[in-house]
């Protein structure tokens, strides 16, 4: 078994670090959501727990622990209890394939900053896991035994499936451009002289992808599944306590995944213009790249929140027609354009 340790130990360390960062990120994204929404409405936001309300997520988490866990009588119990896990776990598993920096060299060993460095089809993995995430929503909606939950679950499922097409096609144009499903390759292709962040050459794909990602994460203006005025809270109407917290965390973890996805594909990953991480040495360069990456993700999270507190909700038929009649053809057109360009350029 000795041969396994050099692989297992760094992987475990990376898992712990990443889970720590992501879960803290989730907690503070909820705080950011409340703070930013407050600022945009000329309010102050939570400022009682800790300095500037910075311990508010801790208080929120404690509250979830002490709340009663209610199962409705009409619920189909096994699936009702299972559904929150099916939402949270896919949301967390995605971080296995998301690279969050270049690499760190310590003691003659080089550790790439990604949990699963051997995965060369990370992009597909991310798409696959996010498509599995629908089950949690679907089951929660159905097993609650409540028509609002059911409607929310149905809406959410159809929305996610519809927009997944747009996402996949937009991703494919980037993949064609770089010729790889590996996130690290895609990021490396956006570094250095003569290379641009793909938001430039792939602008159409960027637009399609970003809009579709908003729908995929059930965020406003596409939060039909939990449209309060029509569906109470959608698929998690009946949930309370820790199980509700799991849905909540899953939703925010998905937001972080989506932001990371956009950053990796279109915003140059951890690259900054005119900065070469080799200048900072093997250790600090790697750490700096991770900091830059998470900073970019944070900026995108802010955009998510910003859009949420700006736009009203789409009507359901508008949502569907936007997905199928606008984004889907646009993504297809983009794919054709990119392929033509690549053929003209003489891509292998």
């Amino acid at each position: 078994m000795n041969a396994y340790w050099p692989i297992v130990v760094p992987a475990l360390v990376k898992i712990v670090v990443i889970l720590g960062i992501v879960l803290t990120g989730v907690a503070y994204t909820t705080l950011a959501e409340r703070k930013v929404s407050a600022w945009m409405q000329d309010r102050r936001g939570p400022n009682r727990v800790g300095p500037f309300g910075l311990l508010q997520p801790v208080a929120d988490g404690m509250k979830f622990f002490f709340k009663e866990d209610i199962t409705p009588r009409e619920a189909y119990r096994p699936l009702y209890l299972l559904a929150p896990f099916l939402t949270l776990f896919p949301a967390l598993i995605t971080f296995a394939v998301i690279p969050f920096g270049t690499q760190i060299s310590v003691g003659g060993q080089t550790y790439p900053l990604i949990i699963a460095p051997g995965m060369d089809v990370g992009v597909i993995f991310l798409l696959a896991v996010s498509s599995i995430g629908v089950y949690g929503i679907l089951l929660a909606g159905w097993s609650s035994g409540n028509k609002y939950s059911l409607m929310g679950g149905l809406r959410s499922a159809s929305q996610v499936i519809s927009y997944e097409l747009g996402i996949a096609l937009a991703v494919m144009s980037v993949v064609l451009w770089t010729g790889s499903f590996d996130f690290r390759r895609i990021v490396e292709d956006q570094a250095g002289w003569g290379h641009f962040w793909f938001v430039g050459p792939q602008f159409l794909a960027f637009i399609v992808f970003t809009v579709a990602v908003f729908a995929e994460t059930n965020r406003l203006p596409f939060d039909l599944p939990e449209g309060e005025s029509e569906l109470v809270a959608g698929y998690h109407t009946e949930y309370s306590g820790l199980r509700f917290a799991m849905f909540f965390m899953g939703e925010y973890a998905n937001m972080i995944t989506a932001s990371a996805f956009v950053v990796l594909l279109f915003l140059g990953g951890w690259n900054l213009p005119f900065v070469n991480y080799a200048w900072f040495g093997p250790l600090w360069g790697g750490l700096l790249s991770a900091v830059v990456f998470f900073a970019k993700v944070a900026v995108l999270l802010f955009v998510f929140i910003w859009v949420r507190w700006t736009l009203p909700r789409f009507r359901y038929d508008q949502l569907m027609s936007l997905g199928w009649k606008r984004l889907f053809p646009l993504a297809l057109l983009n794919l054709v354009l990119i392929s033509t360009l690549l053929v003209l350029r003489g891509h292998p």
Binding site: A38, W39, M40, D42, T310, L311
Partner: protein
């Protein structure tokens, strides 16, 4: 009613101009002055005529002014007032032996004050009435009278109305 919808250009129909305009607006609000009132530390100045906690008033003779006519009990919409009448040696002959207001029921409508012929009940400006136990919310005569003697009173009406005003 006939609604004339504006003719939108191709660029406008992509939603983007409207979205960007809205985002600019919300972003600019981040730097505006906050309107939040930090409640326990900062408070509203209450307007005159504010209807808060109903209290019983004491006359110049040191006795409660209430004559136990029960008009307030009859008019009270949520039936929060309960009066048990008693006889007294005073000139008014009747007095409330018991006078309870259930503050869990009171809706602060002020009808009791409105209807009282002797101006014995009055809504003052206290509004922090929450309690952990509902039984504590039933205020009896002694408590209501004590509240009636205690400030704070409304600005411009530093004292409750006196008899014979």
């Amino acid at each position: 009613m006939k609604v004339t919808r504006p003719e939108l250009s191709w660029w406008e129909r992509t939603y983007f101009p409207a979205i960007l305009k809205g985002m600019k607006l919300t972003f600019s609000h981040i730097f505006r002055k906050r309107v939040t009132l930090q409640y326990p530390e900062e408070r509203w100045t209450l307007p005159p005529g504010y209807r808060g906690q109903p209290v019983l008033l004491t006359g110049l003779d040191g006795h409660e002014k209430c004559t136990s006519c029960k008009l307030c009990q009859f008019i009270c919409p949520p039936e929060a007032i309960r009066i048990v009448a008693g006889e007294t040696e005073l000139a008014k002959e009747k007095f409330p032996a018991e006078f309870d207001i259930d503050m869990g029921l009171c809706i602060f409508c002020g009808y009791c004050q409105e209807v009282c012929p002797v101006e014995a009940i009055w809504l003052k400006d206290a509004y922090e009435l929450a309690d952990y136990d509902r039984t504590n919310l039933i205020f009896d005569k002694e408590k209501l009278l004590a509240l009636g003697r205690k400030p704070p009173y409304l600005p411009g009406r530093e004292k409750p109305l006196e008899e014979g005003r």
